[in-house]
Amino acid sequence: MNKMINLMIDGIDVKVSQDTSIIEAASSVGIKIPSLCYHQDLLPSAGCGICVVEIEGQPLPKRACCTPVYEGMKVKTNSIELRSLRKMLLEMILADHYVDCPTCISNNKCDLQDLAYIMGVKTEENAPLQTRKPIDESSVSIIRDPNKCINCGRCVTVCNDIQTVYALTTVHRGFESEINTPFSKGMAESTCINCGQCVVFCPTAALTEKTHTEQVWNELLNPAKHLVIQAAPAVRATLGEEFGMEEGSLSVGKMYAAFRKLGFNAVFDTNFTADLTIMEEGTEFVNRFTSGGTLPLITSCSPGWIKFMETFYPDLADNVSTCKSPQQMFGALVKTYYAENKNVNPKDIVSVSIMPCTAKKFEANRPEMQDSGYKDVDYVLTTREIARMIKEAGIDFAKLEDEKADDLMGIYTGAATIFGATGGVMEAALRSAYYLITKENLPSPEIKAVRGMEGIKEAIVDVKGTKVKIAVAHSLGKARELMDRIRQQIQETGKSDYHFIEVMACPGGCVGGGGQPFQSNLAARARRGEALYKEDSELELRLSHENPAVVEVYEKFLKAPGSEIAHKLLHTNYFKRDIMSGDIIEEATHKH
């Protein structure tokens, strides 16, 4: 089936399977063909033309990204003419790009900047073509600056092909063509679910998060305010990358130290509420499972997935767990439980969360997320934003001594840490659900079947003779596949044979989130996930129900999982949204 093809690239013999592109074949023998729009994880858009190569016997150069190899092919990846073509193309792109590198958010992380520098292209070679266009700041999560867009199409590919959200497309034609939302109505008036995959894949800074560092600095430097910080599980596996550490380096202790140095009054961890989520969601699952409730239960931690579900699958809203995400549970507790405990006026508390995610900004701004009586989470910063703040504060991150989080809401288990990787929530939930059903712990806490980068992972877990059918999907395209399957089962037989499902909006889970360091590829995401599994394996506490801080919060404040106060603070309801604009149409579920 997989026929092997022999070809020669720059005089080197290469053997690859058929349907391989020239750029992949070259990469397999260590030849890097210059390219700009090409990304190894996406189908080529073939826009920029930088990757042109010469093929013996062909009159015109061909794009290496989308030209398949054939037997006996002879490829030359560099020549005087190819260099001149590439430089000319780069000049054309630069002439239509708003060049403000020193203040650009992508400075030193920009593919265009890199390539222009490496190839010695001057911006002034070609007359500027650009007339400045308005910047789309309508969304609470993502800013789109068409002036920096080079029309590579990566964002459109990831939004449409991988996420199947269809919020981005090319509009108009000719030189007026640009990437925009359908009908050019702005990101806020589109189906955008704020996942930020477009941001991560953008080679320039045409798509970035809406930044809130200014606001957080102002709060930090205001002595009247009491600042509390939480950091999501996946941040500890990526923050180091922003400071030159290797992919997959874990930097929990350094992260806490940096937060303290920045001036946060209390340094906590979202992992604490990840454990709490497991208690609430695990209880919810056990209740539904044992008393014939709506199944499958679908996880609700990923705010991108929640908006996606509200837009495309509101009919399955009752299947989604009523649990808030760990970020929002944390926010609700900070201004109640923590405020009481520390005797701080909740109105003076500024609750900041560090997230691998751009959709968390949207989630924090949802009007219903004020169950503490205040805005539960005041500011959401991405991994990239907090890294910039740490740099501005002059903190040498890599050399920091490890510190610990504060006790009340800073203790966590290994079950919480793996929330950051695809399958992690499922694994953590099963560890505790098993306990809740059987009053015994799993023989081994590790459930390998739900780990790894496969799009949809399925397994049947034996809970003392009872079979629980589970599935894990990451990326919304895969979630769509799974939801369609469930919808069909329900239509055909009245019920689905799945019991429990985890969905994460981003490929790889939160380690691949839209707030993570730019241009993370799938392989890097897998390495970050490994780091989280490693931390889990090294921790003494690996089961959420054994977290002493969680036990304490129930004893002193929440009473029991699923109690009335737990429901008030930790659970939520969902809406049905318009499929074109994402606007709320009506409630899809009712708050319990």
Binding site: L85, M92, S177
Partner: protein
Amino acid sequence: MKYFRSHILIETDEASVQQGAREVMNALKQELAKHNLDQEVNVLETGSLGFFERGVCIAVYPDDVIYGNVKVEDVSSLVSEHFLKGRPLTHLVIERSEKKNIPLGYDKRIVLENSGNIDPEEINDYLGVGGYLAWEKALLEMKPEDIVQTVKDSGLRGRGGAGFPAGIKWSFTSPIKGVQKYVVINADEGEPGTFKDRLIMEGDPHKLLEGTMIASLAVGATKAYIYIRGEYKLCINRLQRAIDQAYEYGLLGKNILESGFDLDIEIETGAGAYICGEETALIESMEGNRGIPRTKPPYPGVKGFMQNPTVVNNVETIANVPAIINKGADWYRNIGTAESPGTKVYTILGDVAVPGLCEVPMGTTLRTIINTYGGGMKKGSRFKSALVGGAAGIFLGDNMLDVKMDFHNLAEYKAVLGSGAILVINDSVNIVDMLESVIKFFRHESCGKCVPCRNGNEQLYKSVRKIKAGYAGEDELDKMLLIADTMQKTSFCALGQSLLLPVKSALDMFKDDFLSYINKKKAINK
């Protein structure tokens, strides 16, 4: 059968209808009835008679007189002069060159043989001139591979611009088994100055259908689409009518003529983007997507519409097929040149005396086409250049008037036959102005997918504007050439690649025009 002493053929193509052809027709009928001539003189609708810029044209047979610019108020004098007094109404007669009939040249026509002769809305008219005999022959007497072989042997090359041999294209798809296959007729004619396909479809829609049927049988497609640009309203109406009639006569549908072969033909309309004439962009558009070209390979012949094997052919190409099946490959090979057999339909526009449509054998020189079929240059003007092949064509100078026009010969001069548009330019025109509008066209029509085409066209446009404004030096010309060259070598599809032709030919042949702007800041003759 009823006998008429005279037949009036009135052209009702889109352009004539807009200029009042139907009103003239009604007035004619009334006027004839008034003089009790309606039983002697028959009034018929037909396709284009082949003249542009001549308003409503009518032909009178057997007298063989063609009137142009006929208005409703001319009708009464026309009837009284021509039909009562028996002499032509001289001031409306279109003067053709010495040899009276040549501009129409019916004897040599293949594609347009019926256009202007029969009523395009009547299947019986088409059947009456031997229509659908080829379909019957292909269906009942030939195997699909024989049809492919015949078309291969005929040497028929694609008339959409690239000139790829049609039979070879079919031979990629024909052997594929076990999947739904499609034939798509590319009638998304968008090349500036080109409307040959419109006139073929308006004048003889059944011929296109017959060709489509034969092509579908040859490649084993049971579904064919005709993708027409949405502005071609009359074409769409006439083709739909023709399709309906063909179903009614059992020439389409299930088990056609009890051969066991099923075929359905459907019309798809385009929204007018030039890029949708590119076959993969056309397929994208048919699938409901934005019209942008796909990566090739895989070619549409293997993976096209809905990822199924799809043969995409131009209207003119397919309209040649019935004659090839009827008369054989050898007959076809005898027309035209060895490398490019058959005829070519041209639209002759610009500064010629009789702008019009003609179908001539491949290899006819530009000089013959202009002088014989275009009636020579307009009075008082001198030939400077001809833009041949549409906007994506080449500016030819007077040194190339005697080049034999076919795919092969033009390629030797790095020129193309393209869409068959010939825009004749007189010597008062500055080529820079022409080039500006060509670039402006491509700047607008680029799909925007790839950098060289999207940004390159804008760069060229900026350059030419700069030259015209008098702000450019001679180095701007080198820069234009470099940009166009980069576009040719790196553009994703033919749209961006073809800019080099007009830019380079304009710079090579008419550099003085550019210099006149650069040096004097104004054109030579302005």
